[in-house]
């Protein structure tokens, strides 16, 4: 048996807000019989645009039913703006957690809610308001959906992506595409964290640390592939003195590597006014 929390079992055994609202203000439908789970969510707003009533119908396992039931309890009384901030992690947290392989149940809840809100705003119905390139053809999962679960849940492996949105769980042909999406988002996240960590005015110590980090992350791996390395010798104001090691020492391309790679990267991640020079002593 799965390691379900008491709250999951309670919502499964006694699901709240079961049914469909007639003439709803928003309706969202996700999943299908083929996928093994499906959720139909309807809500009604009051005059203050708050969700005054919400009902669901779910085909699926115990955690799919529990996630849907939990979602309805969570969003009752919320404004549309509040409801659209609900993430799949919020649903899982509300239930005291879900087994990793069942996280896709919480994602199904978030997706249905998103579609119901989109339906309220645009009047459009249909299963794929969120269109886009389909990556996993077995379960009909789009690139956008994969990106979303990777971002929302900080996923780093294909297995996790499969657990969260099923992509890659059928024939497995799309696993390479998923790896690339994860890789792309990882890079974005890293460069973003590097740039957000950068304070407006760096102290000397902060600057040294940041330069070392940037050399480590952005430059060394590249040089090491060619059997070389780089070392930070000194910093004087905006002047950064470095020295090449191994195959890079005495390399004819060293001057351009200094300008086009080292300086460019340090300017991107540390400070725009840096000038990099090679230590000739």
């Amino acid at each position: 048996m799965w390691d379900y929390t008491d709250k999951v079992l309670d919502h499964f055994r006694n699901p709240r807000n079961v049914g469909l609202i007639e003439n709803p203000d928003g309706i969202g439908e996700v999943g299908s019989m083929a996928c093994g789970d499906a959720l139909k969510l309807t809500f009604k707003l009051d005059e203050k645009k708050r969700i005054v009533d919400v009902k669901f119908k779910t085909f699926g396992c115990a955690s799919a039913i529990a996630s849907s039931s939990a979602l309805t309890e969570m969003i009752k009384g919320m404004t549309i703006e509040q409801a659209e901030k609900v993430t799949n992690q919020d649903i899982a947290n509300y239930l005291g957690g879900l087994p990793e392989q069942k996280m896709h149940c919480s994602v199904m809840g978030r997706e249905a809610l998103e579609m119901a809100i989109a339906n309220y705003r645009t009047g459009k119905t249909g299963k794929k308001i969120l269109a886009g390139k389909v990556v996993c053809t077995c379960f009909g999962v789009t690139e956008e959906e994969i990106e979303r679960v990777v971002r929302d849940n900080n996923l780093t492996t294909v297995e996790q992506v499969t657990n969260y949105c099923k992509a890659g769980g059928g024939c497995g042909n799309c696993k390479n595409d998923i790896v690339q999406i994860i890789e792309r988002i990882r890079k974005e996240r890293e460069s973003k964290s590097a740039s957000t960590q950068k304070p407006a005015k760096l102290t000397v110590l902060q600057k040294v640390k940041l330069i070392e980090e940037t050399l480590d992350r952005e430059i060394r791996p590249m040089l090491k592939r060619d059997g070389g390395d780089i070392e930070l010798i000194d910093i004087s104001g905006s002047r950064v003195i470095v020295s090449f090691r191994g195959m890079c020492a005495g390399c004819q391309a060293a001057p351009s590597t200094i300008k086009d790679v080292v300086e460019a990267k340090l300017r991107e991640f540390v400070s725009k006014d840096l000038v990099v020079e090679e230590d000739k002593s």
Binding site: M1, V18, S32, K40, K57, F59, C61, A62, K102
Partner: protein
């Protein structure tokens, strides 16, 4: 709350008589049968007796029985041991609905360069014997086909298959884990070369099984080591469980009649009761050529795991081929191979009985199921 155990194809309760037979081999008779002293030596005869008891259930010679640790080991030994003995470039023919214990080794051999053919089944879960004959071909090819399916109970025509394989000079292994003890098996009449059985499917403990190897069949040793099992499987014998398996086979033979009469009657009553009280419900697989204890029922528009949890809440243990119960995302490979539509596949539920079930238990399940099905259908967006 009642406890109604209807998951006997997963595992069975150990028979009290088997437990009684095992205990002395933990308490007093714990010697090593290979030892050159009375203490170990006195144990050996019990292994001999157990070997006779297992052989007797399938009408084999005791020398044709090798004790294993489980059904999976028997299947691996048979398939990989034969492939190794026969050398490269052998065709291996199996079916898409085999247990992973057979599909796993076959696919492993495929990666190693053997040609492996997986035969499909029709919507009733049956093989097309004309197609089988076509792919079989002449020569010492290896065929591994289960005698009865664990999920649906559907029985393959092993006697016909065995005759065809013999005629073409092939080697036939059958995974008989589900059928032994439920239907009379006679390896003298049905010329299979190897047959794997498992203790815990017939009221012996988990951790013991046997492989029947017909005299003269070439199988390479799998567990290389000591002289035990006539050099066919090294390792000190699991004496208590071997004795337990022997005792379980004695009981199985005694109650064989019971399986095809009483157990079959209870299964039929359960099946009819469910079909009558729950609309949009179908039985998966051939209902004629089927184990007497198994029924696989699809409840349309609802999902298997949810059914199992509700059943468990009222004390009923069953199993499902739905995606969610396995932790994978697709319904069972058996149900998919039969082409069961998705509307039914995710709600497939297996009830497998044993001689320990009672009519009262079956009536309890029949009485309770409609409310569970209705509850889940009220929740389903497809109803």
């Amino acid at each position: 709350m009642k406890n109604v155990y209807l998951d006997n194809n997963a595992t069975t309760q150990v028979a009290p008589e088997v437990i009684d037979a095992i205990i002395p081999f933990f308490k007093e008779l714990w010697g090593n049968p290979s030892s050159m002293h009375y203490f170990g030596g006195q144990v050996k005869k019990y292994i001999d007796t157990a070997r006779e008891q297992v052989a007797d259930l399938i009408n084999a010679e005791p020398s044709e029985i090798v004790f294993t640790s489980c059904g999976t080991e028997g299947d691996n030994m048979a398939i990989r041991g034969t492939a190794e003995a026969l050398g490269k470039n052998r065709k291996i023919i199996t079916t898409r609905v085999e247990h992973p214990a057979v599909l796993g080794p076959c696919r492993h051999l495929k990666e190693q360069g053997h040609e492996v053919i997986e035969l499909g089944v029709d919507s009733s879960g049956q093989l097309d014997l004309t197609e089988f004959r076509k792919v079989l071909g002449k020569g010492p090819n290896i065929v591994s086909i289960m005698w009865a399916n664990n999920e649906t109970g559907v029985m393959f025509p092993i006697p016909e298959i065995a005759a065809m394989v013999k005629e073409q000079g092939g080697v036939l292994h059958t995974d008989a884990v589900q059928i032994v003890g439920k239907i009379p098996i006679d390896v003298r009449k049905t010329p299979v070369d190897m047959l794997a059985l498992s203790g815990h499917k017939l009221h012996a403990p988990k951790g013991i099984g046997a492989l029947y190897i017909r005299k003269g069949t070439k199988v390479n040793t799998f567990l290389i080591g000591g002289h035990q099992e006539n050099g066919r499987r090294g390792g000190t014998e699991n004496v208590p469980y071997i004795v337990g398996l022997g005792q379980a086979c004695v009981l199985a033979k005694k109650f064989l009649q019971d399986e095809t009469t009483n157990v079959a009657k209870l299964r039929d009553r359960l099946e009819a009761g469910i079909l009558a009280s729950c609309p949009s419900t179908t039985v998966n697989g051939d209902r004629v050529h089927r184990l007497p204890n198994t029924t696989n029922i699809s409840f349309q528009y609802i999902e298997g795991e949810a059914i199992l949890y509700h059943l468990s809440d009222i004390g009923v243990a069953a199993s499902s081929g739905s995606a969610c119960t396995s932790g994978s995302l697709e319904p069972s490979h058996v149900i998919r191979a039969m082409g069961v539509p998705f509307t039914s596949a995710h709600g497939s539920t297996r009830f497998s009985l044993s001689r320990y079930n009672t009519a009262e238990e079956i009536e309890y399940v029949i009485e309770k199921i409609p409310a569970i099905v209705k509850r889940l259908r009220d929740l389903s967006p497809f109803v």
